[in-house]
Each structure stands twice: as C-alpha cells, then as structure tokens.
C-alpha cells in the first residue's frame, strides 16, 4: 500500500463566532478570533490518497484529476473568500480549522466517485495548517468511507448538547 500526499494552498478570512453563545461568551471563548471584522490566514492543505501502484502507469492516482477535484470542490469556493459569508457550510457552523477540515473531507468524499470512477484508490486523510504553528488532521478509515458526512454527525451532537 502506498499513500500519496499532495499539498495545496489557499488564503481566506474568517471570524470565530457562535450564535449559540452570548457576545461575552464568544469574546471569552474565541478571544482575538472573535474580532467582528474577521481576519485571515494562508492555509496549507494536504490531501492523502491510499492505494496500490498501477503496474503500467506507476500511479496511485492521476494527479491532474486530483487537482481538478480539489480545485473545483474546495479551492474555487474557499480561496480569497470570507469563509463565514461565502462558504455555505459556514453560515451556521463556526469556521474553526477543525470544522474547515471536516467540511473539506466531506466535499472530497462526496465528489470522489465522479472524479475517480476508474480507481480503487481512496481518500485516506486530510491535514490543514492554519498557520505554521498549528495543524489539524482528519484520518479517514476504510470503514468510515460510506458513513454519513462528518458535518451531519457534528450537527446531531450539537442538537443533543443544546
């Protein structure tokens, strides 16, 4: 088994603010990241694909196709955007990098079969650096592949906790 990891970059702004919390609680929980005007980062996004090397091509995955998937499903909507305002998932969900990672994982899983109908290679992980000092990794096990989306699971637990 071989894992190929491709690195992408995008910049975006966001504001960490939860409608479930009061203004004072938001300020306390999110600190500087709660600034009403928002702020931005240069994100580094690593996408990992696991599979067998094809004997003829020497490839686990066709990188031009992976690039097209990531550009179309993620980068086109995220790069040079305000995540809270421009990305549908974050109208209610706080765009912490944890949640950004899960949203990206969901989008890529959803598009996977359309872009790789020919391939048994699978999306095995994504990792995002928000800055050089912090990173967030989602490991996608084989059994989780057909599971419901990460975000819908998250929403269920918010409802339970509320």
């Amino acid at each position: 088994m071989i894992t190929v990891t491709r690195r992408y970059r995008f910049c975006a702004s966001h504001r960490l603010h939860s409608e479930l919390l009061s203004d004072a609680e938001n300020a306390r929980v999110f600190g500087k990241c709660n600034n009403p005007y928002g702020h931005g980062h240069d994100y580094v996004l690593d996408i990992s694909v696991t599979g067998e090397l094809n004997a003829t091509t020497g490839l686990v995955v066709r990188l031009p196709d992976l690039d097209r998937l990531v550009k179309t499903e993620v980068l086109a909507g995220f790069a040079y955007r305000n995540l809270n305002q421009d990305v549908a998932e974050f109208t209610e969900l706080v765009p912490t990098t944890e949640n950004v990672a899960l949203v990206i994982a969901d989008r890529l899983r959803k598009g996977w079969r359309d872009y790789f109908p020919y391939s048994s290679a699978r999306l095995s992980g994504i990792s995002i650096q928000e800055t050089e000092r912090n990173s967030f990794e989602v490991v996608i096990s084989q059994s989780a592949e057909s599971a419901p989306s990460f975000i819908s699971k998250l929403n269920e637990s918010v409802i339970v906790n509320a």
Partner: protein, 139 residues
Amino acid sequence: MFITRKAEFSASHVCRVDSLSEQENFELYGEESHAAGHGHNYVLEVTLEGDPDPVTGMVMDLKELKEILEREVVEPMDHRFLNFEVPPFDKVVPTTGNVAQEIWSRLEPRLSGPHFHLAKIRLFEGSDLYVDVTGKKAA
C-alpha cells in the same frame, strides 16, 4: 520507538508511457509528461522502528544508516536523469510512487536487524508532493 534520518538528492525525470499518445500521457501525468524531462529536489525520510541496544543506547548506528542511504540512493540517483541512468527507470515510469517503491526495495533488506526494521519511507518530490511507503508491522 521510531528514528528518522533524512537524505536529499536532485534528479531529472520524465513520466510517460511510450505506447500512449501525447494526449493520453498528459491526462495521466500532466506537466510531468513533457518529453525532454525536468527535475526535482527530492527529500527522503527513512524511519526505522526498534529498541535501543542495551549497551550502545542506539536503535541503529546513524553513521551506518547514513552510509547505506548514500550508497543505495544518493550516489546512484543524485544529479542523474532517472529514465536514462538509473535502472529500473529505463523500463519503469519514474513516478514519485515508483521511485519511492524502488528506494524501499533497495533499503529494506539492508535495514533490518535483531532490534529494528525499516518501518516507513517518505519521499518528497519538491515541497508539495510526497509518497509514503510502509512495511508490514513486525509480528
């Protein structure tokens, strides 16, 4: 525990299958398929798993590991055109995956001792693409 040693080499290559058309090669490999070739700075990270020797306190002598990486990988591949100068890449497409697999095959038999074995190699082709090859866990 795991110990990791890094080595670097620079080499040129081209990724294309001769029996396929220009268009088909471009669909498979993108810019990597341009016939005259191009080059990368490769970075290799070699990770061993094992226990420190009770006397020396070392999983493996890093000087010896450095020499093996030099002999098996850096010396034959550094500043070479992989397709023309480094078998099996006269017959096997030198994708990052195949280069990593070849490095694994060269290192694996030389990096196993009573207390350690080769656990993983990571090969970076530039800073934005890398491949991990992992072995079976020791029983």
